[in-house]
Structure formats: C-alpha cells, structure tokens
Amino acid sequence: MADLFTGAALFILTVTALGLFKVLRSEIAVERMMAVQLLGTGGAAAVLLLGAATSSPAMTDVALLLMLLAAVSCAAFTSGQSSHTADASEQAEDEA
C-alpha cells in the first residue's frame, strides 16, 4: 500500500512538474502562474499521499499550508498583474 501511495505521489508530481516546465517557456505570464497553481495542488496531493504512505499525520498540516499559501501567492500575482495594466497611465512614482 505504501509503495502504491508513493508511486501515485510520484506520478502526480511528475505530471504536474512536466506541465510546469512546458509552460514556463511560454510567453503568457498568466499561464505560468496557472501551472504553479496546478503544481501547488499536485504538491498538496503528493504530500497527502506521502503522509499516508509513511503514516505521519503531521504531513496533512504541510498540505494545508501548501494550499493556503498557493492561494495567497496566486492572489499576489494577479494583484501585480492588474496594478500593472491599470496603472500604466499613472505610473508616476511618489517621488521623495
């Protein structure tokens, strides 16, 4: 059972990481962030599976953190994007 869990974790990670590498080369910034999002979810799934494989319950907490922070960094990313597009006209920095 443990080996199967590890195998599933490996599979998920491989798939999502391959997707990430493919997309990192793309020019569209949004797609890269989507791939990171996918990796975050895949990572959480892998952590859960590994936790089940090694029967260490604390791993669930790692997955919790991963999911929570993945959402936050995605939000930070889009806020940077939108401020970029919206501010293009008024980019004057508040000079000292």
Binding site: E93, E95, A96
Partner: protein
C-alpha cells in the same frame, strides 16, 4: 557507485551543493538586482539542504532526524526572508530615486556626491 546506494540524506545534500553553486552563479553573474535577490534565496536553500542532510543523517534516539540543525534551518529561513525584504525595499527605493535597477549603470558616483 550507483545512485541508489546514496540514500535520501546524501542525495539531498548533493542537491544542496549544486543549488548553492547555481545560486552563487546567479548572484555573481546576473546584473539584474531582483534576479540576484532570487539567487540569494536559491543559495540559501542549497545551504539549508546541506544542514538538512546533516539532520537526516543524525537520526537517532527515536527521532527521524537531528532536531538541532532543523531548528537552525528554521531560524535561517526567517533570517533569509528578512534579508530578502530589506534588499527588496532598498531596490525599490533605488528604483524610485533613479529609475534603474542595477548598480552598474552610468554612475552618479563622481558628479556631485553631496555632503551629508
């Protein structure tokens, strides 16, 4: 020597060594300051993995790893984060003041370095 005989700890230790090398390269060879800051973080990650290898190897007394280097890594990660924050703030200030984000642009060094 086959890779399989290395063991998780040594494997990640070697990974740490390589990451430290890559991070160092980014820090030295990149002119962009933001990239250098990312490089510092990768260098840091490599260093922490070396600590992690030491920790994993030191599994004993019912612990799956030596807690002392683990604690050091946690301290180190927090310190590295504050360093990143300070560097980013300095970079943004430099950018606000001069509009550039590297240190080697046409220097304002000699012309009128005013007095304090």
């Amino acid at each position: 020597m086959s890779l399989a005989s290395l063991g998780t700890a040594t494997l990640f230790g070697l990974c740490g060594a390589a990451l430290a090398g890559i991070g160092l390269f980014i820090v030295i060879a990149h002119a962009g300051l933001l990239r250098r800051i990312v490089g510092f973080n990768i260098l840091g990650a490599g260093i922490f993995l070396v600590f992690g290898a030491a920790a994993r190897r030191g599994a004993a007394a019912g612990f799956s790893g030596d807690p002392v280097p683990q604690a050091m890594v946690i301290t180190g990660i927090v310190v590295a984060f504050s360093a990143t924050a300070l560097a980013v703030a300095l970079l943004q200030r430099l950018f606000d003041l001069t509009g550039r984000e590297s240190l080697d642009a046409p220097a304002a060094s000699d012309k009128q370095q005013a007095e304090p």
